[in-house]
Symmetry: C2
Subunit: 223 residues, 2 copies
Amino acid sequence: MINLAVDAVVFGYTSEDGLSVLLIQRKIPPFEGEWALPGGLVKENESLDEAVMRELKEETGVSINYLEQLYTFGEPKRDPRNRVVSVAYYGLVRPDVFHLLADTDALEAAWFNLDELPKLAFDHQNILNLARVRLKGKITYEPIGFELLDKKFPFSELEKLYQTVLDKPIDRRNFKKKIMSYDFLEETTEKQILKGAGRPGNLFKFNEKKYLDLKKKGINIDL
Amino acid sequence: MINLAVDAVVFGYTSEDGLSVLLIQRKIPPFEGEWALPGGLVKENESLDEAVMRELKEETGVSINYLEQLYTFGEPKRDPRNRVVSVAYYGLVRPDVFHLLADTDALEAAWFNLDELPKLAFDHQNILNLARVRLKGKITYEPIGFELLDKKFPFSELEKLYQTVLDKPIDRRNFKKKIMSYDFLEETTEKQILKGAGRPGNLFKFNEKKYLDLKKKGINIDL
DNA sequence: CCAAAAGTGTTGGTAGTACACCCATGA
DNA sequence: TCATGGGTGTACTACCAACACTTTTGG
């Protein structure tokens, strides 16, 4: 008898704190009290996509519908008790729009900065690592930002987002040239309201139609 | 109770017949007598990779160990009887090195040219379509050919392989320039033995070390 | 006036694309 | 001698990478 589960790697991005990941503290054995990816067993009559959204909602209160399938992990001993095969999903959201609410099998749900992670239960560190790689890959051929930034934002916010996810510095001028050539950003006349010193930047917004078009067609941001 | 299965999309390539796919004719319901991808239920104590190799061997006699995970299909109604979630794998081989031998749940095993496919059981046509897309993608960032061509082969064979998998014409000169720049091919002094008219080409061989290096590092054949 | 962040162009190199004619062979 | 397939080079373009100084603001 093989049990089928789903796990969700939900990355959060804010310009202040960079990348984080949503974890839960397990209420039940195995690994009781330890931190793990949200997830759980698939029910008889739901699809995998439905299962992962449901578990995420149940355990963390986070409700999103654009997770992507990452990989299926099926080593016989990955769960110390029973055989559990897990279909992992991943996604990237802005944490501040959710109110976390641990429930069902979770004692607590919290965002952890990627460089301050606790030890994770099961093989969840592997899953997270793979998700990290895939996320990096993904943003080089698909635009991101629309769901992660404010309606209007200074250009530097988009730049910071790419630098954070790719985890390397980017030349400001070349990046702007490239992004602008895809023509999915519109410059507004408004200016950034500053917190601290520095010249305030113009605010930009996404042209939603062109942005979604390019999500389908694909772009190429090799940096 | 959810059953867990694996399915294999094994593509075959020959320069004469192009791309084909390995199918089996089902011996048991559902879809008895129809053609389907080789695959079957995962056993309690084997990994997913082991399961897919085993099923492939059992049903078709084909023994390979370099399939890659493709995607996991889990719609509740994809199997008309029970709930079956299937982890699909894919790979590309040369058909002529295998002796097909249908066994266990298969009445017959056979290679089908991609444009002469029978109607497939379950959602296997979807799985195949996705595998086709992924295969195309894959050869643009990983060299192929070593396992598919003879030890020594005329350059046109490699060209034909790429044209077949990508399903579009390629400029011979540009392709050669690009491939040669990666430096994993060595030109020999031998010449092709002809079948029919035409100027015989020089034979090439892979530099296995450099080839495997590039498999890891990745290349970029955007054509 | 100093520190912080935004804005802005040019140049050189590299890689990609388009393109056509001659050569060696078998029939 | 014709048909078949192999072999080869150039020129144009587009993209990418590297790079530094000026402007606006807050403190």
